[in-house]
């Protein structure tokens, strides 16, 4: 029996090319392509009065200049609203090039195509756009006040309004023995992958075919959107996703204006065109996330059990709503975490502002939801003088209550029913890992030395692996090599390795014989994309199912050839053999030869499949009516609903008594994503998530001024952590398998980031003794909070939270 690959910390197969400089990222392709660059709005809100391109026309190497006036048909219409929802009141999306108005700094207005990027940018600099500036709307407060309106034709800035309720939360809160309110605030951040967006298009006029390469998280989505906009049949568009230098959510948005303009221009010019985003473009003109204001009202009993929870959310969706309202829906539903909320009411308003669009960033609304719930848990503990872990335990859904129906509709449009999980076990693990019960003594000892240390805890549940589906195609070549394809894309999660591990086990072939292709519509046109921690769950399950189909066929054909019963056969190391009699066997490659009846031999092995060799059954056609030639299997995995991973983080911080610098002393993670396909990869995902969680809690924010200018649109000013800022991460795993899919797995990609802001706020609060209600928190903010606290402007814990809206507002 070959070693089982599933669950092994297998080294990644993608690494060899990536460590030798042989990766092929978007901008590594298309050496002969023209380069595109864009004139982008310098104003947050303006009307375009006139565009004068004459200054650019004598730039040597200029190929073309396009404005909205050059577009027609679907290209001249607004971009699609990707995920419609009945709660959307007025869903605005941008144009490929601005038509009359611009609504954020960075919005593309003019496209320039030139010999190379240097020349294209020379031309961009010589194009004069005359703007009539209009009032910007920056920040949630301004958007909610609606004294200024972002979009013409609207009377306010409310893009969507949704109320979900289970039970009568307000009555339950009114009747509860204890009641507190919290006002919470989270700032904007962004995915910020090391590689920005990029598109490279080749139009073949003779075949009327478009080949589009895009640094995207969805090949099939881009294909459908580009075909619709360019007026092409789906069959005329191939989308190939090369190596992608990180995504974290931003690259699920499609089609970007640039993603339409580049293929459109390639067709118009009959020449390859490429655009690779630069860093400033990525900061201003891609997408951000996180910004929310939350008002929480909670009623609870004297043991800390929730009786009613009422949450009101204001969500900043930026200038447009191309991705719909997935982020605030996720916040509203995933806020519940591992808890039973009693009666629950959640209401959100999604608001337009004249800033970059807001679309999912790793965690996708969950960090905000977890912040609301975990800050609430800590507030309850402070109010009752209880241990913070005990309050959480008092509210946990118990393992025997699974599957547990929260009574809401989740982001996949399906019921919010948790499939499995063991939250009490996770809590025990995290308490042990961080030394929760011994911390009071440590804190007291530190305080006696004049040091300020604090500990925090935060729990989350993450719906992962949402449908609708993904597909797998597995094929054995006559060489015995196995080709695997799935439609979703990969951007660092090691899918080539993980999927090969799964297929290796299912088929009984060595991993070295397996190659995996992702995100290529030529190989698997039916697909959805990589988001919501769904890659391993969806495509892992799909390729497993496809491999099982293939194996069934291989055994059937081999049984004929070996004159054995298929039930007695097994595949070991790429060879089909009789169980117990390994000498009686046939190579999988030979089975592939036999699976395809031939008239013409092309090599020695293929002779076996030609018409005059071997005994034929003249009563049957060479390919049976219910069969097809070739040794391959295709299948699709479509889950009933999402599977729910969970975890808990605990962190110990030290705050400098003088400078208010915040240092993380320990960062502990207990993580349950069901069965682990590859622990090396899963831990890597957790590490990266934690780093982004720490970043969002302590360093990163998008600093817009009141005019809508992004002040920190560079790596000089946006504080993305280096190795010096990210603490060492300690991880323990729990495995409660999912009953929903054939492998028992749950998603792992986003988990690490989700409780970051909540857990660090809790620890800082514990160190300081007053409430932390806004994240991120910088040393200077903490310093000023201390001064206010010292002057009596902030109430001390416990009891601080009952002073609604005063703490840290």
């Amino acid at each position: 029996m070959a070693t089982r690959m599933f669950g092994m910390p297998v080294q990644r197969t993608e690494d060899e090319r990536l460590i030798t400089g042989k990766g092929g990222y978007l901008d590594d392709l298309g050496a002969g392509a023209y380069a595109a660059a864009f004139v982008r709005s310098p104003h947050a809100h303006a009307r375009v009065r006139d565009i004068d391109v004459t200054g650019a026309l004598d730039v040597e190497g200029l190929v073309a200049v396009y404005t909205h006036e050059d577009l027609s048909g679907p290209m001249a219409e607004p971009l699609p609203l990707l995920i419609p929802h009945p709660a959307i009141l007025d869903g605005r999306t941008p144009y490929a090039l601005a038509k009359e108005y611009v609504h954020y700094v960075g919005e593309p207005v003019v496209m320039v195509v030139a010999r190379d990027r240097y020349v294209a940018e020379d031309a961009v600099g010589r194009i004069a756009v005359d703007y009539e500036t209009l009032d910007p709307v920056v920040g949630i407060e301004a958007a909610a006040r609606a004294e200024r309106v972002v979009h013409a034709g609207m009377s306010d800035n409310v893009a969507a309004h949704l109320v979900q309720e289970v039970g009568d939360a307000r009555a339950a809160i009114a009747a509860a023995p204890n009641r507190i309110e919290l006002d919470l605030d989270i700032e904007r951040s962004a995915c910020t992958p090391m590689e920005g967006r990029g598109v490279y298009a080749r139009w073949d006029g003779r075949d009327a075919m478009l080949r589009l390469y895009s640094s995207t998280q969805t090949a099939s989505g881009v294909r459908a959107a580009v075909a619709a906009k360019l007026g092409l049949q789906l069959g005329q568009v191939e989308v190939v996703v090369p190596d992608v230098g990180g995504g974290f959510g931003v690259k699920i948005v499609h089609p970007w204006p640039e993603e339409l303009m580049v293929p459109w221009a390639a067709r118009a010019l009959g020449h390859e065109v490429k655009w690779a985003e630069d860093r400033r473009e990525h900061f201003t003109a891609a997408a951000h996330e996180r910004a929310q204001r939350q008002h929480v009202t909670v009623g609870f009993d004297d043991e800390g059990r929730l009786l009613g929870l009422d949450v009101d959310i204001l969500h900043d969706n930026g200038a447009y709503l191309p991705y719909g309202i997935i982020v605030p829906i996720v916040t509203s539903t995933q806020l519940l975490g591992p808890y039973k909320p009693g009666a629950y009411r959640v209401e959100f308003r999604s608001l337009y502002t004249t800033t970059a669009i807001v679309t999912p960033y790793r965690g996708a609304g969950r960090p905000q939801g977890v912040f609301a719930m975990e800050r609430t848990m800590d507030a309850i503990a402070a109010h009752l003088g209880m241990d913070r872990a005990d309050v959480r335990a008092a509210n946990f859904i118990q393992p025997e209550e699974m599957p547990y129906d929260q009574g809401l509709l989740f982001q996949d449009g399906r019921p919010l029913i948790y499939d499995s999980g063991d939250y009490p076990a996770s809590l025990e693990k995290i308490k042990k890992l961080v030394g929760w019960d011994d911390f009071t003594a440590y804190r007291d000892a530190a305080r006696a030395e004049g040091r300020k240390v604090g500990i925090g805890l935060a729990c989350y549940v993450e719906g992962t692996g949402p449908g609708p589906y993904e597909g797998g195609h597995v094929q054995v070549e006559t060489s015995g090599k196995v080709r695997v394809a799935t439609g979703l894309t990969t951007q660092g999660q090691g899918h080539q390795t993980a999927l090969a591990q799964i297929v290796a086990d299912e088929l009984g072939v060595p991993m070295s014989d397996i190659s995996v292709t992702t995100g290529d519509t030529r190989r698997m046109p039916y697909s959805v994309g990589t988001f919501a921690s769904r890659g391993a769950v969806m495509s892992g399950s799909a390729v497993a199912l496809a491999a099982r189909r293939l194996k069934e066929k291989a055994l059937r054909i081999a049984a004929d050839a070996l004159e054995a019963d298929a039930e007695d056969l097994e595949i070991v190391d790429g060879r089909v053999q009789v169980r117990g009699t390994p000498s009686a066997g046939i190579e999988l490659g030979t089975v592939a030869v036999l699976s395809n009846p031939l008239r013409y031999a092309f090599d020695e092995a293929s002779k076996a499949a030609t018409q005059f060799t071997g005994a034929a059954d003249y009563t049957r056609p060479p390919v049976a009516a219910d069969d097809e030639p070739g040794l391959e299997g295709t299948d699709f995995y479509s889950p009933l609903r999402s599977t729910f991973a969970s975890g808990m983080h605990a962190v110990v911080v030290e705050t400098d008594p003088e400078t208010a610098e915040i240092r993380i002393l320990r960062y502990c993670v207990v993580h349950d994503c069901g069965k682990l396909v590859n622990p090396l990869i899963v831990e890597g995902q957790v590490h990266g998530g934690v780093a982004q969680g720490v970043a969002g809690a302590l360093y990163e924010r998008m600093e817009y001024d009141s005019g809508g200018q992004l002040l920190n649109a560079s790596f000089m000013d946006f504080l993305m952590p280096y190795a010096s800022e990210v603490p060492k991460v300690e991880i323990d795993h729990l495995e409660t398998p999912s009953p929903l899919n054939p492998l028992g797995i749950k998603g792992a990609g986003e988990a690490g980031v989700i409780p970051g802001a909540a857990v660090i706020a809790a620890a800082v609060e514990d160190a300081e003794g007053f409430a932390i209600t806004r994240m991120p928190v910088s040393p200077s903010e903490l310093f000023h909070l201390r001064r206010r606290f010292d002057k009596g402007g902030i109430a001390p814990l416990p009891g601080a939270y009952s002073r609604t809206g005063e703490a840290n507002a």
């Binding site: 040597e60 590689e195 990180g246 090396l680 280096y722 060492k728």
Partner: protein, 178 residues
């Protein structure tokens, strides 16, 4: 308008190359576009992220902050030049693979060039020193956990190999090649 072009000769990974470039052409763009060495990646073009780091006369240098015309007369090593001519991977490359020190791989060439140089001067770093050594490069995927591990592992591989090589451990000592 047309701009003046310059014939330049660059020595990259031990081989002579020529290119015709305007004076403003960045070394990063020249390597990638004129010489086809796309292993060097461009992450920010303002010298902060370190993805474009190459070695110039052995020293880690941000190729987005250097003009191609100024690179003449210098010995440039890119990620493509780290492995031995026979394809044997550099210890740093092996360590990054072994320790899962990369995910999307976009920043990786910059880390590899930086660490390869660092270990020549500091063959036996502590964990804290290893963390400091990569402190000028951004990675968005790994949280640096396994990158730090990979630096330590690469140092270990170098020492193991030096010990196994004729001449013994001395070969891995400080000052080698510098």
């Amino acid at each position: 308008m047309s701009e003046e072009l310059h014939e330049i000769r660059l020595r990259v990974n031990g081989a002579e190359h020529t290119a015709t470039v305007p004076a403003r052409r960045l070394l990063s763009d020249c390597l990638r576009q004129d010489l086809g060495l796309t292993g060097t990646h461009v992450g920010c073009e303002h010298g902060v992220c370190g993805a474009c780091t190459v070695r110039v006369d052995g020293r880690p240098t941000r190729s987005c902050l250097m003009f191609a015309v100024s690179a003449q007369g210098h010995e440039i090593t890119t990620v493509e030049g780290l492995a031995e001519p026979d394809g044997t991977l550099h210890p740093v490359q092996r360590a990054f693979r072994e320790c899962h020190g990369l995910q999307c791989g976009f920043c990786t060439p910059g880390f590899l060039t930086v660490v390869s140089a660092y270990l020549e001067d500091n063959p036996d770093p502590t964990e804290e020193e290893a963390r400091e050594a990569v402190g000028g490069n951004l990675c968005r995927c790994t949280g640096y956990q396994n990158i730090v591990k990979a630096v330590l592992r690469a140092a270990e591989i170098r020492r193991e190999e030096a010990a196994a090589a004729p001449g013994g451990e001395r070969a891995a000592g400080a000052g080698e090649r510098r």
